[in-house]
Symmetry: C2
Subunit: 206 residues, 2 copies
């Protein structure tokens, strides 16, 4: 095996270090966050950092780095209080990736990359029509990570849109069967194949 | 599509709601966290919540729910300051899952599930010998998420162990080729297949 010390990592060129470090945590979720600002301009941005925070009530988090291209997302969430999280399907991952380009605020990434803006009921923020799993959230709170100023945005799930018959009686969903992809690093996309759903682990009885 | 309101979600039986909500964020990283307590008793626990926090210096986070079975991990990290993060390979995901059973503190999950304890150099916490990507971390800080008391543990990466020739010149690693798996929900394991590594996204020039 190769051994890298902290000193070795810190001595790498910035871009190589950022690339490498982004692979080491393992696979990531692949989602598009949809927002609208107070002037009704729409924004769509790819995030690989959506994480489960709680189920009762349902909370999800995602991580934002200070002063990044996803700043429009942050501004819109803070301004309006609402956003959507839309799972990325294998059929449109390249379009989803393209939302990470630096578009000006006047440009809707939905139009720029060719994904369909969809409003549902009276929910304020826009969904991605092509997405198989769509969540409508309300901003709950932001938490600053002291060591480097990274921000954890937490939202409450107000509504869930899922394919018909996708949820098993016990609440399971087969994400592989629904074509949802996963991300590694910052730019690498993978399809998945379900190996097994394992039973709740118990200590073997003697 | 199926529509679930927050009211619908809150009305579900607890276990079904917890199961469903854990799928909605998408795919998760699959790692084993290795620790040793001050009495030199070893612990190994599976986590699906390791996330990238920063690259310079390199920080990773993971999420702990208050009062869970992973409490031994938390106690050991707070007591000793060190832990390892070990990527889960397809060959041993069932053993990794079994670490989530409620073993007493005297029991080493390494022995209980059949994974090999490995110490490297003078690093205090134990690695999983079978793991293809192993990280040695020092506890940096813990951040409480106010809405539900969930804890984000942040650590600094002090060393990295990787397969020979796994890191491309620009820092990329093909996690699929190294057999690293991904998790959905709490108990579902998936292998992956790389679709593409896409170039840095730019606005099309007019």
């Amino acid at each position: 095996m190769i051994h890298l010390s902290l000193k070795d990592v810190l001595a790498m060129p910035d871009r190589k270090r950022a690339t490498l470090m982004n692979y080491l945590s393992g696979f990531k979720s692949a989602n598009l966050v949809g927002t609208t600002d107070a002037q009704h301009r729409h924004n769509l941005a790819i995030f690989n950092s959506v994480v489960h925070i709680g189920a009762n009530p349902p909370y999800l988090g995602f991580i934002l780095r200070p002063n990044t291209v996803e700043r429009h997302t942050y501004d819109n969430i803070k301004e309006t209080g609402y956003y959507t999280i839309n799972a990325i399907h294998e059929d449109f991952y390249a379009k989803a990736h393209q939302t990470s380009a630096k578009y000006p605020k006047e440009t809707s990434e939905f139009e720029a990359v060719g994904l369909t803006l969809e409003f549902k009921g009276d929910f304020f923020a826009p969904y991605v029509q092509e997405s198989p799993i769509k969540l409508g959230l309300q901003f709950q709170e932001e938490i600053i990570v002291p060591c480097n100023g990274t921000i954890l945005i937490v939202g409450k799930v107000l509504e869930v849109w899922l394919p018909a018959q996708s949820v098993a009686e016990d609440g399971h969903i087969n994400l592989s069967a629904h074509g949802i992809i996963t991300i590694s690093g910052l730019d690498t996309y993978h399809r998945t194949e379900k190996l097994a759903q394992l039973p709740y682990a118990k200590r073997p009885s003697k």
